[in-house]
């Protein structure tokens, strides 16, 4: 029997809820709707959902608050796709760091929403669960490096910021969240696919080599990201997590 993915759409605007829900149903998904955090909580208590589409700007508890709440509660395994209105880069990043699996800026094309939902679902099923949950406002220390998850850059020993491209950052986060675990190219690829990257995949090997370059890692004798022949890559140093902001 076929499992039909169940999507919960949380948005304070009735029309948007219905339009999104209608579109997703038309495309073969099961949907439910909630107008605010209260409705969302009571729905989740009684029903199992596969993914939550969560609007950021809502009266009462906003999306960021709800996202954090979900991530720290018993529903922390449910993937979240945030709908954000804010164009400010920092807000988007914060949304992701609050634990959202992806985000989409309003207004969006319905088709893109569908593609994102499917990508998130595929990704979360493909990967083993995170061994360590790194999240908002943390500083991830490994080897000689620190990764600032708010500013999304590496800090070297002298405190100079080494910038990372979006794909490099996502790849590094995947490695950091799954230390000592061999990840194959398919897993890495689906995780590091960026917002518009679906059509222009960089090969994972190229991305790994760029990341090694950023980390000052020698490809022949890498310290951080080791190659496992015919299997994939493994992040081989322990990571220490410290809070960046109280």
């Amino acid at each position: 029997m076929d499992h039909v993915d169940h999507i919960l759409v949380v948005d304070d605007d009735r029309e948007i809820r219905e339009l999104v829900s209608g579109y997703l149903q038309k495309n073969g998904l099961r949907t439910s709707v909630a107008a605010d955090g209260r409705q969302m909580r009571s729905f989740l208590d009684a029903n199992a959902v596969d993914l939550i589409v969560l609007d950021v700007m809502m009266p009462g508890d906003d999306g960021l608050v709800l996202c954090r709440e979900l991530r720290s509660g018993r529903h922390k395994a449910i993937p979240i796709l945030m709908l954000t209105a804010r164009t400010d880069e920092m807000d988007r990043i914060l949304g992701l760091e609050m634990g959202a699996d992806d985000y989409l800026a309003k207004p969006f094309a319905a088709r893109e929403l569908l593609a994102r939902i499917k990508a998130v679902l595929r990704r979360t099923r493909m990967l083993p669960p995170n061994l360590q949950i790194s999240g908002a406002g943390q500083l991830l220390t490994f080897g000689d490096w620190r990764l600032d998850t708010v500013a999304r850059h590496l800090l070297n020993k002298e405190g100079t910021a080494i910038a990372l491209s979006g794909a490099e950052y996502r790849l590094l986060r995947v490695f950091i969240d799954h230390p000592q675990r061999v990840l194959n190219r398919d897993q890495l690829l689906s995780l590091t696919q960026g917002r518009d990257a679906d059509l222009f995949d960089r090969s994972i090997d190229l991305l790994v080599s760029r990341l090694r370059q950023r980390l000052g890692d020698d490809a022949r004798e890498p310290t951080y990201i080791k190659t496992v022949r015919s299997e994939g890559y493994v992040f081989s140093v322990p990571v220490e997590i410290t809070e960046l902001r109280p």
Binding site: D13, A85, E89, P107, A110, A161, I162, A163, S165
Partner: protein, 440 residues
């Protein structure tokens, strides 16, 4: 006031308020002080002269009368007794001299004659070769000549140390004037500096409200104005944010409805129009934010990885953005702002030329210069300045079809000011535009 300006401007009227107030005060005070000093001096001179002449006429007349009564043999014994500091009696015709017809001489002669009861006509002579030496000749009643040798001493009605006091007082005046002027000018300077440095986005130190009440009042007014400006700017951003947020929900609905509708040219046009509205809203708020400041802190960034990461982000989405020159090293700047500036340059280049190249170098002053160049149509030289104005569009070559709101470079300009850098646009040799940001 108007009448005094041409008068003063013909002289070398100093430009600074400091010099003007200083001059006015100093000249006025010095003049007034000099005036009172001269009045004092004159008054003292006159009274001293009166005393001296009065003494002279009475004493001399008495002495003449005494000498006249004495037998000629006893006169010699008394001469020293009768002499005073500034005159002396001599028996005999005295030295040869020239008659002195001056008013002063006649005055002295007249007074002595009057005091002696007009019994002895007096003839006053100057001694040639000697300044200030007079001799008065007269004949006593027994026929023997008498000479009064007068050496008028300079009338010194003031003490010798008084001029020094005068100099010290003038010095004191000078210092006080300087200090007073400084008191007035200093707050003005501070106010001007504060106005120059006025940046309502930064919570910089407010102007000190200490000092005399007028200065404190001005400082308070200035600080209040500063807060009002910050408030207005804040309000502007809030209004734009509110509009943007208000528009977002209906645009999202329209977009979703369009997506649900059947494929048709009308639908595509609607989607395109919605995209344009959305872009305008986004750029508008980005522009307002860039003017308002992000509150972003400076961070030390590694230049090579910074530029690479930007290029890779574009490359990963299939855009032709390449890095052609890099310098190693770090820079202290606001990374998000700089990224946005460069992204706006690159977006422009991609829009008009389809490809962009980034290069980084150090200029002569060892500042980091990041340049984004393209081989597009460029911008006419006379419009390069205008291109940085908000909502600027070159309608001929850069038309609406290419999209964009005309805010990209204006945002870049504002952000460049925020990071303390400079922005320059120029046309490349061989065609194409170069957009250059020089870091602080």
């Amino acid at each position: 006031m108007r009448a005094t300006i041409p008068l003063f401007s013909s002289l070398a009227w100093p430009r600074t308020l400091r010099s003007r107030i200083f001059l006015i005060l100093l000249i006025g005070l010095a003049f007034a002080y000099g005036l009172s000093f001269s009045v004092l001096y004159m008054e003292r001179t006159m009274s001293a002269k009166a005393v001296m002449l009065g003494t002279l006429e009475n004493d001399v007349a008495t002495s003449i009368a005494v000498l006249d009564r004495l037998p000629s043999s006893e006169r010699g014994d008394l001469l020293d007794w009768l002499s005073r500091g500034n005159y002396r009696f001599e028996l005999g015709p005295g030295l040869a001299g020239v008659p002195d017809g001056s008013r002063k001489a006649r005055e002295i002669a007249g007074k002595i004659e009057a005091a002696a009861g007009h019994r002895f006509p007096i003839r006053i002579e100057r001694i040639p070769g000697e300044v200030n030496r007079l001799q008065a000749h007269l004949t006593l009643s027994d026929g023997s000549p008498l000479t009064i040798d007068v050496t008028p001493r300079g009338v010194m009605p003031i003490a010798a140390w008084l001029p020094y006091v005068f100099v010290i007082q003038m010095l004191l005046l000078f210092l006080c004037t300087w200090f007073a002027v400084r008191q007035v000018i200093r707050p003005l300077g501070a106010l001007a500096a504060a106005a120059d440095a006025l940046d309502p986005n930064k919570d910089g130190a407010a102007l000190s409200e200490a000092g005399p009440s007028e200065v404190a009042h001005a400082a308070r007014a200035f600080n209040a104005m500063r807060e009002r400006i910050a408030h207005y700017l804040e309000e502007r951003v809030q209004i734009l944010a509110a509009i943007s947020h208000g528009l977002q929900t209906p645009i999202t609905r329209m977009r979703l409805r369009a997506d649900m509708a059947e494929d048709s040219p009308e639908r595509d046009k609607l989607v395109h129009d919605l995209g344009e509205i959305q872009r305008l809203v986004q750029d508008g708020i980005a522009y307002a934010r860039s003017a308002h400041g992000s509150g972003e802190n400076n961070a030390r960034i590694d230049l090579a990885s910074f530029i690479d990461s930007i290029a890779y982000d574009y490359q990963d989405t299939g855009k032709a953005v390449t890095v052609v020159g890099l310098v190693q090293g770090a820079a202290l700047t606001k990374p998000h702002a700089l990224r946005r500036i460069l992204s706006n340059f690159i977006d422009n280049a991609l829009k008009f030329a389809g490809a962009a190249e980034i290069s980084v170098e150090h200029n002569a002053e060892n500042r980091v210069v990041i340049t984004v160049v393209d081989r597009g149509p460029g911008i006419p030289d006379d419009m390069l300045e205008a291109a940085m104005q908000p909502f600027f569009r070159l309608e001929q070559s850069r038309n609406r079809e290419t999209g964009g709101t005309g805010l990209g470079l204006a945002i870049a300009q504002q952000l460049t000011a925020k990071i303390g850098g400079t922005l320059r646009l120029y046309n490349r040799a061989g065609g194409g535009l170069a957009a250059e940001v020089t870091l602080r």
